[in-house]
C-alpha cells in the first residue's frame, strides 16, 4: 500500500491556532512550525457581519444526502470562483444529525473533496466526537476520509458531559484524540498538525506540554509508517 501524500509539498510540522491570550506561550515553543491566524482573532472589523453571525450560530449541520452534496458542491464552486486562493474544507463535530442519511460522513466528505478539487482540513477531534456520539468506529471511518488531499490537521480538546462528548477547544486534548493522531500518521503523511485552543486558556506550561504530546504522537505514527 502506498502512503497517501498531500498536494501540499511544504512541510508545516507542528503548529497552533494563534490567539492573543497564548501569544507569549507560543513564542516559547522553538519547534513551532506554523501558526494559523483566523480573522476573528485580529479584530471584529476583519470579518463581514454575515460571517460573524454564521460563526456565532455554530457551524451548520449538513444532511448526508445526495441533494445536500449537490448544493454544497455548487456553493464551493461559487466560492472557488470568487476567491483567488485554494480552498480547504473542514468537516464539523455535530451533536445532532439529520435523520435518514444516504451515506456516512467519510463518504460524504470524500465525494465533496473529489468533486470540488478542494483540499481537506482534517479535524481529528471531529471523527472522534462523532464516532463517540453517534456510535461508530472512529479509526475505520478515518481511514476512508480522502487522506491524500489533506492540507493540514486540526487537533482540539473537549470534554465528556452527561455521556456526550463536546468538542469545546477549551479543554485538554483527550488521549483518544492523540491516539487518532498516531493512527493517522501511521497510514498517512499529513503536511502539518496543529493544536486548536480557543478559550479558557491554560498556563503556558500546559499548552507547551500539549503541543509536545501531539508532536510525540505524530512521531510514533511516522515511525510505524516507516516500518510498515
Amino acid at each position: 500500500m502506498t502512503t497517501p501524500t498531500s498536494p501540499i509539498t511544504t512541510r508545516l510540522g507542528g503548529g497552533a491556532g494563534w490567539r492573543p491570550q497564548i501569544d507569549g506561550a507560543l513564542a516559547q515553543v522553538e519547534t513551532l512550525g506554523f501558526i494559523e491566524v483566523i480573522a476573528e482573532s485580529i479584530g471584529a472589523g476583519a470579518l463581514p457581519d454575515g460571517v460573524v453571525a454564521a460563526r456565532e450560530r455554530g457551524l451548520q449541520v449538513v444532511p448526508h444526502t445526495r441533494e445536500a452534496l449537490e448544493i454544497l458542491c455548487e456553493n464551493v464552486a461559487i466560492a472557488q470562483e470568487a476567491l483567488p486562493v485554494p480552498l480547504a474544507l473542514e468537516h464539523v463535530a455535530a451533536l445532532v444529525q439529520w435523520p435518514s442519511p444516504e451515506m456516512d460522513e467519510a463518504t460524504f466528505v470524500r465525494e465533496l473533496i473529489e468533486r470540488t478539487g478542494a483540499l481537506l482540513l482534517l479535524d481529528l477531534s471531529n471523527p472522534y466526537a462523532n464516532a463517540l456520539n453517534h456510535g461508530y468506529e472512529a479509526l475505520e471511518a478515518l481511514a476512508r476520509f480522502p487522506l491524500e488531499r489533506i492540507a493540514y490537521v486540526h487537533v482540539g480538546g473537549g470534554v465528556l458531559r452527561d455521556g456526550v462528548y463536546h468538542d469545546t477547544h477549551s479543554h485538554p486534548v483527550v488521549p483518544g484524540v492523540l491516539h487518532l493522531v498516531e493512527e493517522l500518521c501511521a497510514i498517512a503523511d499529513p503536511p502539518g498538525v496543529m493544536l486548536e485552543h480557543d478559550d479558557d486558556f491554560p498556563p503556558a506550561s500546559e499548552l507547551i506540554a500539549e503541543l509536545k504530546a501531539i508532536a510525540a504522537a505524530v512521531r510514533r505514527g511516522g515511525e510505524r509508517r516507516a516500518c510498515a
Binding site: 460573524v52 456565532e56 450560530r57 451548520q60 449537490e70 448544493i71 451533536l95 445532532v96 439529520w98
Partner: protein, 157 residues
C-alpha cells in the same frame, strides 16, 4: 440543482437553526436529548462571545453572568443576526427589564454599543453617572460626524 430545491433546502436548514437557537420545534426525526445538548452547547458558546465583546457588563455581573445569560437566552433567545453586539444589547435590555442594577462602566458600554449599532439618522442618548463625579454623559451619533460624547458635570447632592 434547480433553484426551488435550493430554497427548500435553505428552509429546512433555517428550521434547524431556529430550533437550536430559539427553541422552536426541531424538524422531525431529531433525537430530543441530543438536540437539547446541542442547544446548550451553542448557548454556552454564544455566552462566551458576548462576554468577550462586553467586558464591562461581564465584569459587573461577575459570577452571575452565566446563569443570567442562560435565563435570557432560554427566554428571549438570540437575535436574528446572532452576532455578539446585538446579542449583548438584547441581553442588556433583558437585564434592565429584570431589574438588574448595573454599574456605570456597564451602562456606558451599553450606551456606546447602542450608538454603534445605529446606522441612520441622528441619535442622542444620555446616562446619569456617579463616577468619577456626578455627571451626565451625552452620546450623539450623526451621519458623517460619527460618534461624539460629552460629559456634563452635575451638582453634588
Amino acid at each position: 440543482m434547480p433553484a426551488r430545491d435550493r430554497s427548500a433546502y435553505a428552509e429546512r436548514q433555517a428550521q434547524l437553526l431556529a430550533a437550536l437557537l430559539r427553541g422552536d420545534d426541531f424538524p422531525s426525526g431529531f433525537v430530543a436529548a441530543r438536540a437539547e445538548a446541542a442547544s446548550s452547547a451553542l448557548r454556552r458558546k454564544r455566552g462566551r462571545t458576548v462576554a468577550h465583546d462586553w467586558p464591562a457588563l461581564t465584569l459587573c455581573l461577575g459570577d452571575t453572568f452565566t446563569a443570567r445569560f442562560d435565563a435570557f437566552d432560554r427566554g428571549a433567545g438570540a437575535t436574528a443576526s446572532g452576532a455578539p453586539l446585538p446579542d449583548g444589547l438584547a441581553f442588556a435590555r433583558w437585564l434592565e427589564t429584570a431589574g438588574v442594577v448595573l454599574d456605570d462602566d456597564a451602562r456606558v458600554e451599553i450606551l456606546l454599543g447602542r450608538a454603534a449599532l445605529r446606522r441612520h439618522g441622528v441619535w442622542v442618548r444620555a446616562a446619569r453617572l456617579r463616577e468619577p463625579y456626578p455627571r451626565l454623559l451625552v452620546v450623539v451619533r450623526m451621519p458623517f460626524a460619527g460618534l461624539v460624547q460629552r460629559s456634563v458635570r452635575l451638582a453634588e447632592r
